[in-house]
């Protein structure tokens, strides 16, 4: 770390600061401004200030859209993350097992879902879930008869499960790679010593493997929880946020970002959704800061 003349610092920082200021920070500040106006489809150019009305209508009752959408998204994260973790862990343990051969082949095969662009993932799974032509129901009919079919995208609970499955497919490789890397850095002496002391396989896993994986798994879990919370592509492209049981209520897979996207770009409620964005951002930033402090990263950055 060295001191340089103030104008040198300024020269070096200018491109980034100006760029970030104009195209990242300014829109966020502008968003806060929109959130206290009534800008929407009918008041697009001639909008007026309405104070905190948008925030009030956002949070007015416990069954407001905001709370429904938020609760559903938290449930979605709570279902997804353990599944990602278990699948990632099992795959990593299998790939790390000394008896397994052709490790490079398995590894590449299992990582491919991560490499596929998420909009293509969404399209393919949307086709799989299709009630008539969908591959899943084609397979189901082989066993259950020609008239059978599961309501993958037409029933609210099944639709929720469908989005979870598609998300699991594209997300477990991330955990697999993170856990595999951490597994390979555990010194084998630990296991040998434990074996000498008479510890069995399960005991070694709970007492050695899992505690030593924690530092790798925790930040990965926080990051993945935030990304899952922000799910848009898979949910929107597969279900459009639906199925909808009533016109006035959010659909069964209308998670936070799907709701924001639909309200903003299909219904054009800019002022309202800008207030929604401010509240959601405050929550996400709180989680980010909390998890960074938790893992000691902030102190390190301050060095």
């Amino acid at each position: 770390m060295y001191r340089v003349k103030a104008w040198t610092t300024l020269t070096y920082l200018t491109p980034m600061i100006v760029g970030v200021g104009l195209i990242s920070l300014y829109p966020i500040l502008y968003n806060i401004f929109i959130s206290v106006t009534n800008q929407n489809l009918y008041h697009f150019r001639h909008y007026s200030f309405i104070g905190l009305t948008n925030y009030q209508s956002l949070l007015k009752t416990v069954d407001a859209d905001f709370f429904i959408v938020l609760a559903r998204t938290v449930l979605f994260v709570a279902v997804c993350i353990p599944l990602f973790l278990v699948f990632g862990m099992l795959n990593a343990l299998a790939l790390n097992h000394p008896a397994v051969r052709f490790k490079a082949f398995w590894r590449v095969a299992l990582i491919i879902p991560w490499a596929v662009p998420s909009y293509i993932t969404a399209f393919v799974w949307k086709f799989f879930f299709n009630g008539e032509f969908g591959t899943l129901n084609q397979v189901y009919r082989v066993f259950a008869g020609a008239q059978a079919g599961l309501p993958w995208l037409s029933d609210p609970n099944w639709a929720f499960a469908s989005v979870v499955i598609a998300n699991l497919w594209m997300s477990y490789p991330f955990f697999m790679i993170v856990i595999l890397g951490a597994l390979q850095s555990i010194p084998s002496e630990l296991y040998e010593a434990a074996a000498v002391d008479g510890a069995g396989g399960l005991r070694k896993f709970w007492r050695i493997t899992l505690p030593l994986l924690r530092p790798a798994i925790l930040p990965a879990t926080v990051l993945s929880a935030i990304l899952t919370f922000n799910t848009l592509n898979t949910a929107f492209l597969i279900t459009q946020g639906g199925p909808f049981t009533s016109a006035a209520k959010p659909g069964a897979t209308e998670f936070v970002m799907v709701y924001a996207f639909r309200e903003a770009f299909q219904l054009f409620n800019f002022g309202y959704i800008a207030a929604f964005a401010v509240v959601i951002f405050a929550m996400l930033f709180g989680v980010t800061l909390g998890s960074l402090r938790f893992s000691g990263l902030v102190r390190e950055e301050a060095r």
């Binding site: 610092t9 966020i28 968003n31 008896a99 397994v100 491919i112 991560w114 084609q138 020609a146 950055e301």
Partner: protein, 278 residues
């Protein structure tokens, strides 16, 4: 017991790996077989794993009858633009944040963190309204600007993180020997960071290449569409044979899947990448 752990456990593991591989690869295989399947034969009530009469018609159709080549060109332009502008805009700033001591540094880092915590879908709303006001809605240039709102912050974090791992002694020794700060940056730090610069650039390229949400809102005309927006239009219409969509998907994703798998060796921790791939 001994026999079980000698053969039974590996068998179980192989069974698991085979099941997982089918789960992982079936969707990819499905796109491949759909791409070679003629006409509407995919829309069937019964299962068929491989077309009876494989054909290249779908590929011929998308390249000659659809604006697919235009979409490819647009995607390429937008992605390269985002990649180049992201790197140039962030490299010197990342160096300053890694090496210089100055007032307001802590503030800058926290601000960057806050910006990164602002989900891009939510940022899209003000970006859309601003671009509309300045008349850049529908223009690929406006889309690059929108992508830059993610790219600059990401590149700055990523490069700063890498610069931090280069031993300080290297550039400090150069400064003592009479190098200027700029020489230390250009002659020592940048050459040592070439792999990190390349990986960051390619990640930016992939992000822009695969991005659907922003492009679908900010592009209005079929001639300015990027590939994801164009393909979404095809896929969403059940009158259009899914084979067109599948063959186009293969053309755009096979190169990026290979690129991703190749880059994967350089992900020092998966975390860096997890942050970008949406």
């Amino acid at each position: 017991m001994r026999v079980l752990s000698r053969f039974g456990v590996p068998m179980l593991i192989y069974a698991f790996l085979i099941a997982m591989t089918i789960f992982a690869l079936f969707p990819a295989f499905f796109v491949v077989q759909a791409a070679f399947r003629p006409g509407q034969s995919l829309y069937s009530l019964t299962l068929s794993l491989w077309p009876d009469h494989p054909t290249l018609d779908n590929f011929a159709y998308i390249f000659t009858k659809l604006p697919f080549p235009t979409w490819l060109r647009n995607s390429l332009g937008v992605s390269v633009g985002t990649m180049v502008a992201g790197l140039i805009g962030s490299a010197s700033g990342a160096y300053a944040l890694s090496r210089f001591r100055f007032a307001g540094k802590q503030m800058t880092l926290i601000l960057l963190l806050a910006i990164q915590a602002f989900p891009s879908v939510l940022a899209l709303i003000p970006i859309y309204l601003i671009l509309k006001t300045i008349g850049l809605i529908g223009s690929p240039f406006g889309l690059v600007l929108a992508y830059m709102s993610i790219a600059l912050v990401f590149c700055t974090w990523n490069l700063k993180g890498y610069f931090d791992t280069i031993p300080r002694e290297l550039d400090e020794a150069a400064l003592i020997d009479g190098c200027t700060v700029t020489q230390a940056f250009l002659r020592i730090i940048l050459p040592l960071s070439l792999p990190a610069l390349a990986v960051t650039a390619l990640l930016m390229f992939l992000t822009a290449w695969n991005e659907w949400v922003m492009a679908s809102v900010l592009l209005l005309d079929e001639n300015t569409y990027t590939v994801p927006v164009g393909l979404w239009g095809l896929q969403n219409d059940y009158r259009v044979p899914w084979g067109y969509f599948a063959s186009a998907s293969l053309v755009v994703s096979v190169p990026v899947v290979i690129l991703f798998l190749g880059l994967q060796r350089y992900f020092r921790s998966g975390l860096t990448v997890g942050g970008v791939k949406g």
